[in-house]
Symmetry: C2
Subunit: 223 residues, 2 copies
Amino acid sequence: MSKSALVMFSGGQDSTTCLAVALSRHEHVEAVVFDYAQRHRIELSQAQKLADLAGIQLTLVDLTVLSQLTPNALTRSDIPITTDASGLPSTFVPGRNLVFLSFAGIVARQKGIHTIYGGMCDTDFSGYPDCRDAFVKSMNQTLNLAMDEEFEIVTPLMNLTKAQTVQLMSELGRIEWYADTHTCYEGRRPACGVCPACELRIKGFREAGIRDPLGYEIEVGWG
Amino acid sequence: MSKSALVMFSGGQDSTTCLAVALSRHEHVEAVVFDYAQRHRIELSQAQKLADLAGIQLTLVDLTVLSQLTPNALTRSDIPITTDASGLPSTFVPGRNLVFLSFAGIVARQKGIHTIYGGMCDTDFSGYPDCRDAFVKSMNQTLNLAMDEEFEIVTPLMNLTKAQTVQLMSELGRIEWYADTHTCYEGRRPACGVCPACELRIKGFREAGIRDPLGYEIEVGWG
């Protein structure tokens, strides 16, 4: 196990779980967060809050250029979230993880870190091709060839359901961190409780049988 | 052969040759140029001049963030060009082509183009790992997996010497375009004629037995 790790961080539930996993395995952990002109700026401030809570250094990389290249619901607030003809949600920024992992690799190399954690997950059925394991494995090889280094991209959530992710966080003793993660597509703090993202989150906690420390605007029973 | 192609363009000799190759093969050609806060802004204005000359559309992508991540001679004018311990010139931006190809893929997808030309070359011994064929092939696969598309990255110069590249441009009937390409590391227009980049360029023309349409500050015989 390498001494140091860099976590691709978004202030969301998955990457915060990755952060907890990395901290349980490595002596020195840092994180990188990408400003891609996301619809909800709250994600970036929650990411900083969580990094402070975890006592780690957070590097912000300005990728707002992405919003100029891929107009869509995540990056332009005037487009509603829908599903396109191919079933991909309009929040899809094609190639986003390709860009994120490329920059994570560059940042990691500058810091002498060779282990990179990402919250990519094959099981959430979002349809993003750059969340699949085959992509991550290919990206790992490409990253190594690009820089003549031996990186390892670690994706602890790849085969977990949302419920299993919640369970993992509980086992790591960090469930309270979820109070500061941001999920809601509507950008409401703590959360609207009815948008598709909140719905998925609530379902995960229900299935895990664990109470979400995040408050909701609607009443949510934890079964 | 696909109808359209996107050329990764820098206003240099190699990518201008790629542009000429692409124009000889495809009905519709566009180019993308990256602003990575390169030491010499003249590269970007020469790129626009050459695009106008070729009658193609040029998309500028702002990747100045790279200069914040990798301080070195290409991006900070206060660092002299030297060779580091591993033999890589200090002009090396690790992972640069990884980032460029990722963004070229995103731009190409937005434009419905699936053929991407790059001037990467294995034979110039610069030591850049992300100029090698193994990297490009791996990147091609990663790009396809990232976006669930079938891109083809074409590198017509991969196995050519500088002299063969000059020869190719001559055969394509575009040798005069070289008058507007920028090569000089010192940022001088047309060229100082003595820096390592000029030296390499002059050597290529000499070996090809072709006169460089670019003027030099020193006297250069074409043998």
